[in-house]
């Protein structure tokens, strides 16, 4: 069911907790036994869900079951970030985005599995086991919001919240064949989103349709006095934008996102999608974003530098895991962090610490900041030059088999090549299914100008309609 259908039933008083209870039943069924997706780290008990439903106000998300990535603070469920270091941790407060969901009538059914502290592109870095792709259980769902993407793709819930620091919503959406959107940096309050790379992190939405993503994004967006980086700009009517036509819309296609090395089939699906957009009235214009080739190193310097600082608080002193039998404060730190964090998190903390070290700061962090600014200017110039929205593949490949890239972090990092630029340039971006290759979904990405979510949703909804016509 769509959000609109659930909401109408709920708000009319005839729905009650049915949709949410059904979602919970699906999760419980789907997550047990062999072939479990392992998409959830915890779920709300059935009676608690009924109580929640009884108290839930009518509203834009009345009665809508929502899954929430486990790096968003919830006061009734775990918030572990997929890490042993926060195993069993329950937040005493709620993230603003979660609070806004509940105030709109949504029912949180559970917390989804993820790469530890959102560091990963396959969901294999969770301390609580990998998530499987519901399309093909032998493959990864993408990451780091792999649990949220799998939960939506499996049909457990119509929508889920994720977070996107370098593609962590869009890439798993692409791998699982669902819609995934990350708005402009500052559109959604990060209060209660456990920080990875603070200047890059944005909460995002995964859903089965573009309009459902718009519904949820509209509810959780907008200024929050608890997050100084959240914008006071008014939130546009994103649902309304979904019914707009694309006649005369100029779609920029950056050549750097269609390199010779791109999977031939992925390229073909994206080109086909562009043809459909042209058929719907849009104009396609080839553009160039030459600094794209510096995006991955720039991203991995900045994100790891911020992460090295953001993750310093997990020291075993106040909450979460503490290594037993440590005799001194230093031993508490050392043992807690050595055994509490997984390998990828430790790798990134070390990388980030190095990038900020005396004598290396200018060469790494300082330079990366300058490239980031240059990259943002380059995007701004393209949009100023008459392009309304950009279109690219979301990921260079379809979902890869579990275990394929675990031993090769660089190849894993490179799978973010088309998504990190939107984070570096603070731009909104959305991944929409554009077909399949060998039964595996392919996603196409629209990148909008800063605060240009309306145009981006208009394009994404039009593409979705055009794709439906093709099946």
């Amino acid at each position: 069911m769509s959000i609109r259908e659930i909401r109408e039933a709920f708000n009319a008083g005839s729905g009650g907790p049915e949709a949410a209870l059904e979602a919970l039943a699906k999760i419980v069924r789907g997550e047990s036994g062999n072939g479990s997706l392992n998409a959830f780290l915890c779920t709300v008990p059935e009676d608690a869900l009924s109580e929640q439903a009884a108290r839930a106000p009518t509203g834009r998300l009345g009665g809508v079951p929502v899954a929430v990535k486990d790096n968003l603070a919830t006061s009734d469920l775990c918030t572990t970030c997929g890490s042993k270091i926060l195993e069993g941790y329950v937040s005493p407060y709620e993230a603003t985005a979660v609070r806004r969901l509940r105030e709109a009538g949504a029912l949180v059914v559970g917390k989804t599995n993820m790469d530890e502290f959102a560091m990963g592109s396959s969901n294999e870095n969770s301390a609580f086991g990998p998530v499987r792709n519901p399309v093909d259980l032998a493959r990864v769902p993408g990451g780091s919001s792999g649990g949220s993407a799998a939960a939506v793709a499996a049909g457990y819930v119509p929508v889920a919240l994720g977070s996107d620091t370098g593609g962590s919503v869009r890439q798993p959406a692409s791998f699982c064949g669902v819609v995934g959107v990350k708005p402009t940096y500052g559109r959604i309050s990060r209060y209660g989103l456990v920080a990875f790379g603070s200047s890059l992190d944005q909460i995002g939405v995964l859903s089965r349709s573009v309009v459902d993503a718009a519904e949820v994004l509209g509810v959780i967006s907008g200024h929050d006095p608890r997050d100084s980086t959240s914008s006071e700009r008014e939130v546009p009517d994103l649902v309304g934008a979904c019914s707009g036509d694309v006649d005369g819309l100029v779609i920029g296609v950056p050549e750097e996102y269609f390199p010779d090395t791109l999977d031939v089939q992925v390229r073909a699906r994206c080109e086909a999608a562009l043809e459909r957009m042209e058929a719907a009235g849009a104009t396609v214009r080839r553009v160039s974003l030459p600094h794209t080739r510096y995006a991955i190193p720039t991203y991995y310097v900045l994100a790891t530098a911020e992460a090295s600082s953001n993750l310093a608080r997990y020291d075993g002193v106040r909450y979460g895991f503490r290594a037993p039998e440590a005799a001194s404060a230093e031993a508490v730190y050392c043992r807690t962090r050595s055994s509490g964090f997984g390998a990828e998190v430790k790798r990134r903390i070390i990388l980030g610490t190095y990038a900020l070290s005396a004598g290396y700061y200018d060469a790494y962090y300082g330079r990366a900041q300058r490239v980031r600014e240059r990259l943002a200017c380059e995007f701004a110039d393209v949009f100023a030059g008459g392009v309304d929205v950009l279109f690219t593949p979301t990921s260079p490949t379809v979902a890869f088999p579990l275990g394929e890239r675990v031993a090769d972090p660089v190849s894993m990092y490179l799978s973010d090549v088309f998504t990190v630029t939107a984070n570096l340039a603070n731009l909104p971006a959305i991944s929409v299914p554009v077909g399949e290759v060998g039964g595996l979904p392919v996603g196409g990405q629209f990148i909008g100008p800063a605060w240009g979510e309306s145009t981006m949703f208009r394009a994404a909804a039009a593409l979705e309609r055009a794709m439906e016509g093709s099946a």
């Binding site: 603070s198 608080r313 020291d315």
Partner: protein, 476 residues
């Protein structure tokens, strides 16, 4: 033979801002609450919590910067200082690093050695850390995070001070100024003012600075002066012996009166500063800076000068009266109410400060207003009561809400100026002491005081001594 050295001192002063709430959350920034009762997700550094800047703290820091003649920057940037310590909940302190709030100020201080202008290198805002408690849990260390996130400014001087006395004078002057501005109470016992001193010496006439050491754990102004003396002597001994001074951080031991090096581990930090991504740059437009400048009160130096010129006070009096804004305000109100300025000064510096000291506060804490005081001093001036009785009346005024006139009336403390009564007392005294009268008349002048004393005593202190003097002279 010992060479002749000169001392070079720079100070780093941490001052707690007098805001009700913490720097990045709305917990109370009060001292002395039960451990860990003034905390929230933000100052506990819980996962997902974010800082939000307290605008009132910015206003106070801005006032301090302007009062110290600094250039306030329209854009300053918060940064993270990364290090691990159990009292630091986030694993980093939010401070300002490359782009501080203000730079390039100056403060002139006066000592017996003369005037010295001390340049202020920078003033920046930062949050305080929590506190480790070593005496609460046997054999363990507890952490109290009430202080975590309390707003501070750090004031860093250039190495312009040349003696411990100048360092002390600088701190006293700074404390006065910050008190005038209501920026801080600068209470060293409660930790709202903390000082580190950078100390070096060099042969007189040398242009290059010697190797400096940083002396920490200075818990009072006198500790600052004492520690600098000790450290300078230590450095002199090293240089005289041909040994180098090593750049290091030293801790002052107040009990033993020595400095000892911090363990190298404690100081070998690479803080990995970088701009705080959770806070946008702090923007202060010209208008806000100018408005803050316009609203600054008259500062102690200017006020001292004016008290000398306007009220004709001795420099000493002006210095004592202007040490705190409350006392200076009290004096000025009193003097402006028509009381003779020198008399007002004497009363404020004498009886009033004494009474205030007994209560452990300043003159402004006494339940006596300048208006009440003016009424009392008018009674002294017109002879209704003597100076001595005035002090007794004042003491009674601090114990009740009665006015001076009411007390004098109710307690029958007015001086007796009635000639008939005075004559009667004088007559009685002369009659009772024929011997002394004879000796006085034979030239023993010093006995005059004896007669005055007898009359005063007979009157139970109420006789107007000036009239007694006049009448006694004629009767004897």
């Amino acid at each position: 033979m010992s060479a002749v050295y000169e001392t070079v001192i720079g100070l780093e002063v941490h001052v707690q801002l007098l805001t009700e709430e913490k720097l990045f959350c709305s917990d109370k920034a009060e001292f002395g609450a039960l451990p860990n009762t003034r905390v929230c997700p933000v100052c506990l550094g819980l996962p997902g919590a974010l800082p939000v800047l307290n605008g009132l703290a910015v206003d106070l820091a801005l006032r301090a910067a302007l009062a110290l003649g600094c250039e306030v920057h329209e854009t300053s940037v918060f940064a993270r200082k990364n290090y691990f310590y159990p009292d630091l909940p986030k694993g980093y302190q939010i401070t300002q690093f490359e782009l501080p709030l203000a730079t390039d100020g100056a403060l002139t201080v006066t000592t017996d050695e003369g005037e010295r202008t001390v340049r202020v290198r920078r003033i920046h805002m930062e949050e305080d850390a929590g506190k480790l408690l070593h005496d609460r849990v046997p054999d363990q260390t507890a952490v109290d995070l009430n202080r975590a996130g309390v707003p501070l400014v750090e004031i860093v001087t250039e190495p312009d001070l040349e003696s411990p006395a100048e360092a002390r004078a600088f701190l006293l002057e700074l404390k006065q100024i910050l008190g005038y501005l209501d920026v801080s109470d600068c209470n060293m016992e409660e930790g709202s003012l903390r000082v580190d001193a950078n100390v070096s010496i060099r042969p007189v006439g040398a242009t290059e600075l010697g190797t400096k050491t940083e002396v920490k754990n200075l818990n009072s102004f006198s500790a600052v002066a004492k520690a600098i003396v000790v450290e300078v002597e230590r450095q002199k001994a090293l240089l005289d012996a041909g040994e180098p001074v090593i750049q290091q951080t030293l801790l002052w031991d107040e009990v033993v009166g020595t400095v000892r090096p911090m363990r190298s581990k404690e100081e070998s930090h690479d803080y990995r500063y970088f701009p705080e991504p959770d806070l946008p740059p702090l923007k202060l437009d010209r208008a806000r800076i100018d408005a803050a400048r316009t609203s600054l009160p008259e500062l102690p130096t200017a006020r001292r000068r004016r008290f000398v010129e306007q009220y004709g006070l001795p420099v000493y009096d002006a210095g004592v009266l202007t040490a705190s804004r409350g006392t200076a305000d009290f004096f000025e109100e009193l003097a402006d109410a028509g009381t003779d300025a020198k008399a007002a000064s004497n009363w404020v510096m004498g009886s009033l400060m004494e009474l205030a000291n007994q209560r452990g506060g300043e003159v402004s804490v006494l339940p006596v207003t300048a208006e009440d005081m003016a009424e009392l001093l008018a009674l002294v001036a017109d002879g209704t009561i003597s100076h001595g009785t005035g002090k007794d009346v004042l003491a009674l005024m601090t114990e009740s809400d009665r006015s001076a006139a009411e007390i004098v009336e109710a307690e029958g403390m007015a001086q007796v100026a009635d000639e008939g009564l005075l004559e009667a007392w004088i007559h009685e005294v002369i009659a009772a002491h024929p011997d002394e009268v004879r000796r006085y008349r034979e030239g023993e002048d010093k006995l005059f005081g004896f007669f005055v004393g007898r009359v005063m005593s007979l009157s139970q202190g109420k006789a107007d001594p000036r009239r007694v003097n006049g009448l006694l002279k004629t009767r004897l």
